[in-house]
């Protein structure tokens, strides 16, 4: 079988996790822990291997032949619109399937340890595999509709997994919020598809891409902006970003895989796929770039004040996604995709490490009561330190090559305003990541600083996800339908700590925080390693730009920003690193000794109101909620009461009423008196004669 035919079997890659999902949905509970987890992980591993086969096949072909379509079946055979369920194996999609399956496999492995003891173990892995399958369909689609299928699928799985501990109200709310924010974005996707159908008559990537240059600029801009609306939803940019922080209610493997490494990059993928439209519409591209930059800076400032380790990482993700979007906006596609890959490594590592820390700290996510964990969780600490160095852009780790490449590109593209913002965001990155690492792993140990809440005996040592109520009395009259023992978690306790809340103590009862089992540490180590050496994928030295060359067939014809000379590139790199170092230093100076008391954060105290503003995410989400609550609800009520009830029902009922009244009126004619009827007869005769008279007169 030659390489071309081999590439046509790419459909196997999403099929494997899909089979896993179906199997585990039906038999997950019977298969049980840990076999279900190993099945899921094994299938991901197989998918990864097949992805490598695809890579090999593609590499053996000349660059111009590396784009292969395979049709699974004809989906919509209508004359007006013909859409196939077809996959496209080309450098862009192969890159993404390796990312999803590879990182996914590692995180599946991690989850076997993390979800140990949870009664929903089988269900978890079913959803996890389903997510992987959907994501793979998304990136392998040959046309917008298949991608949209995957898009909706990952949205669904995100919802299912965020609200995995579904008896917990905060989790349910988080899942709902994620779904609804994403729905707004999906609306944009659908409108864009409708425009594409109207303008081009097809949804195929190749055909629409080729025709984008010659279509009317209004349509092209509209399509680009509508697609970007979907991207802001899925990749958590302004204006649709608040869901990502509430998505942290889900188990940490979910946060790592879906909300850091893979699903949120679907937006980046979409823009890369639809790049002809953004190339053809400079206005749309400008919008994209500026939103990315502003989001990166804003999210960075918010992250500096978060007490919850997962929420800090969530805002960090939003900020890094902002970088990727910025790169897309200025046409630096290779830089953006490079950052996607590197970000998956180091952010994934950070999240897995955070999960490990949380497990060790009795499910308590508040960094203000951590400190000095390096002594207790050495492996985790090492992994997270490497990832920290990578994300802040310290050479020679991955972030230095990828993130700084993005910052350089802004300068080279000539957009100095964007460059300033991007650099400031890099400072922020330095600050908040350093703060996170030092509060958690260094400084003074604060986990015994607060009085212990009333102890509820922990269910056996291995079940780490028993989140017991932190001294919160069980509510009054409502007897919860499920007990904690049944659920495996406490439905009244939400581990997430919002900015204004005061710190809660973990219930360690004199024990020290403990390190995680090996099955959880292996993925952390692997990802840390990849964060360290990942830069080798695309060094800015001519001949070593593997990623750039690999992706070239996809982006041919696009002029990606590049340094005009080697010296200029070097100087820019130096400047970027310099500013990152400033951020690191600031945070180090403030936090390297830890906190004096758990409720006194020096940064917050110094900045007072500014800190409150940033810490509360500039009240954006609160504003949206208020808007939806008051005007939104009023609008909905108006539509219901006035439009639906009065106008629509009114007109329908009105017609019926009209008929009834007409009938009532006409009924008066039939009063039963024969003589009245006789008048009717004579009247008719008169009329007839009159007609005849008129006729005769003619």
């Amino acid at each position: 079988m030659n390489a071309h035919d081999l590439l046509q079997t790419v459909g196997i890659v999403p099929l494997l996790p899909l089979l896993g999902a179906v199997l585990l949905l039906f038999f997950g509970r019977r298969i049980g822990e840990p076999i279900a987890g190993w099945i899921a992980t094994g299938l991901m591993g197989l998918a990864f291997l097949w992805g490598l086969v695809m890579l090999g096949a593609a590499l053996s072909l000349p660059p111009e032949a590396r784009s292969v379509s395979s049709v699974v079946f004809t989906w919509l055979p209508a004359d007006v619109l013909k859409v196939d369920m077809a996959f496209l194996a080309d450098p862009l999609s192969i890159t993404w399937i390796l990312l999803v399956t590879g990182v996914g496999m590692l995180i599946h492995l991690y989850a076997i340890g993390y979800m140990h003891g949870d009664p929903g173990f089988g269900r978890f892995f079913a959803y996890f595999n389903l997510f992987a399958a959907s994501m793979l369909v998304l990136v392998l689609g040959n046309n917008y509709l298949v991608t949209f299928l995957g898009w909706e699928g990952v949205g669904l799985c995100s919802y299912l997994l965020i609200s995995f501990w579904n008896q917990r109200e905060s989790a349910a709310v988080g899942g709902k919020k994620a779904f609804i924010y994403n729905r707004v974005g999906d609306f944009g996707f659908m409108l864009a598809m409708f425009l594409l159908i109207a303008e081009f008559g097809t949804l195929d990537y190749g055909i629409t891409g080729a025709a984008a240059g010659s279509a009317s600029s209004g349509v092209v801009t509209a399509v680009a902006l509508l697609l970007f609306l979907a991207v802001t939803g899925k990749s958590a940019q302004i204006p649709l970003f608040p869901w990502l922080t509430d998505a942290m209610e889900g188990p940490t493997p979910v946060s790592a895989l879906i909300h850091a490494a893979t699903m949120v990059t679907a937006g980046i993928f979409l823009v890369a796929r639809a790049h002809p439209f953004f190339e053809a519409s400079p206005d749309a591209a400008t919008v994209v770039a500026w939103i990315g930059a502003i989001t990166a800076l804003l999210a960075g400032t918010i992250a500096c004040f978060q007490p919850d380790i997962k929420r800090a990482l969530a805002y960090s993700t939003i900020s890094q996604l902002g970088y990727m979007v910025l790169a897309l906006g200025i046409g630096a596609y290779t830089a953006a995709i490079f950052l996607v890959l590197m970000h998956a490594f180091f952010k994934g590592c950070l999240f897995l490490g955070a999960g490990s820390v949380i497990h060790g700290n009795d499910e308590n996510q508040d960094m203000r009561v951590m400190g000095r964990f390096r002594a207790f969780l050495p492996v985790t600490a090492m992994g997270m330190v490497i990832a920290w160095l990578a994300i802040t852009g310290v050479p020679p780790f991955a972030g230095f090559w990828s993130k700084d490449l993005v910052i350089e590109s802004t300068f080279e593209a000539g957009d100095y305003g964007l460059w300033v913002i991007a650099t400031l965001a890099a400072v922020m990155t330095g600050i908040y990541m350093t703060r996170l690492i030092f509060l958690t792993f260094y400084g003074n140990a604060r986990f015994n600083d607060l009085p212990q809440p009333d102890a509820i005996p922990a269910v056996s040592g291995g079940s780490d996800d028993d989140a017991q109520g932190a001294g919160v009395a069980v509510a009054d009259a409502d007897v919860p339908p499920y007990t904690e023992a049944e659920l495996g978690y406490d439905p009244d306790y939400s581990p997430t700590v919002q900015y204004p809340e005061s710190p809660r103590a973990p219930r360690l009862h004199g024990h020290d925080p403990h390190e995680s089992p090996t099955v959880m540490l292996v993925p952390i180590v692997v990802l840390a390693f990849l964060s360290a050496i990942g830069g080798l994928l695309n060094l800015p030295i001519h001949g070593l730009e593997f990623l750039g060359e690999w992706l070239e067939p996809v982006f041919e014809g696009v002029q990606q920003p590049a340094p005009s000379s080697f010296e200029e590139g070097l100087a820019l790199t130096g400047v970027a690193f310099f500013f990152a170092a400033i951020g690191i230093t600031i945070a180090y100076l403030i936090y390297h000794r830890g906190l004096r008391a758990p409720d006194r954060d020096p940064l917050k105290d110094k900045l007072g109101h500014g800190a409150n503003l940033a810490g509360n995410a500039y009240y954006y989400d609160a504003g949206v909620s208020a808007f939806v609550d008051k005007p939104g609800r009023a609008g909905a009520r108006f539509l219901d009461e006035t439009v639906d009830t009065k106008v629509i029902d009114g007109s329908v009922n009105g017609v019926a009423g009209l008929v009834r009244r007409a009938g009532d009126g006409l009924r008066a004619l039939q009063d039963g008196h024969v003589r009245r009827y006789a008048i009717g007869i004579v009247l008719g005769t008169t009329a007839l004669l009159m007609y005849l008279l008129a006729y005769v007169g003619r």
Binding site: R675, I679, V682, T686, L689, M690, L693
Partner: protein, 191 residues
């Protein structure tokens, strides 16, 4: 002579008709009807329709009006009718419509309706050769051209007879709900 007779008989006809409509006692109406019918019979005679005139007297005035009188006496509806009209505007509308119909007919009658059809039966009323008396002429037309309708009328009469017997027969059950039980409007003639 013809003129004199025409106006005399015409006047009597109209007089009798008005009498039928305006007389308060139904028996009086019946008698006025007889007057009308006999006048019409004379008018028939004036137009060389001897057989029809005879039949008019025998059947109409002799049988039908007698039937009317029978029923009037049988049902006892010979009381005088009240003068006030119960239905609103019935009288003005009726008179108006009647006048309107009259005017329209008169106007229409002034025109000739040329349908292009010539005499249908080929048997003229007067003259035209060897057709005989009026009776013979009528018979000739009736039993040749109008034979089929003639047979049908025979069937019709049988049906009418049978129908009348069936309808008027007293059935075994009490007959109470054939009329609307609601009392009639005001001004009903006192039973």
């Amino acid at each position: 002579m013809t003129v004199f007779l025409f106006f005399l008989m015409g006047g009597l006809t109209l007089l009798g008709a008005l009498g039928v409509v305006l007389a308060r006692n139904p028996v009086h109406s019946a008698l006025f009807l007889v007057m009308t019918l006999l006048s019409v019979a004379v008018l028939f005679l004036l137009q060389d329709a001897e057989l029809v005139a005879a039949v008019q007297v025998i059947v109409y005035a002799g049988a039908i009006v007698v039937l009317f009188i029978f029923v009037i006496m049988l049902l006892g509806v010979d009381r005088s009718e009240a003068l006030t009209e119960t239905l609103r505007f019935q009288r003005p509308i009726a008179v108006a419509l009647g006048a309107l119909v009259l005017v329209e007919i008169l106007l229409l009658a002034g025109h000739s309706w040329a349908t292009g059809a010539e005499t249908t039966s080929g048997v003229p009323i007067t003259g035209g050769g060897d057709f005989g008396t009026n009776i013979q002429r009528v018979a000739r037309v009736l039993f040749t051209e109008f034979l089929w309708p003639f047979q049908l009328t025979a069937v019709l009469l049988v049906i009418a007879v049978v129908g009348s017997v069936v309808l008027a027969k007293r059935s075994g059950q009490p007959v109470g709900d054939e009329i609307d039980a609601a009392p009639g409007p005001q001004g009903e003639s006192v039973p």
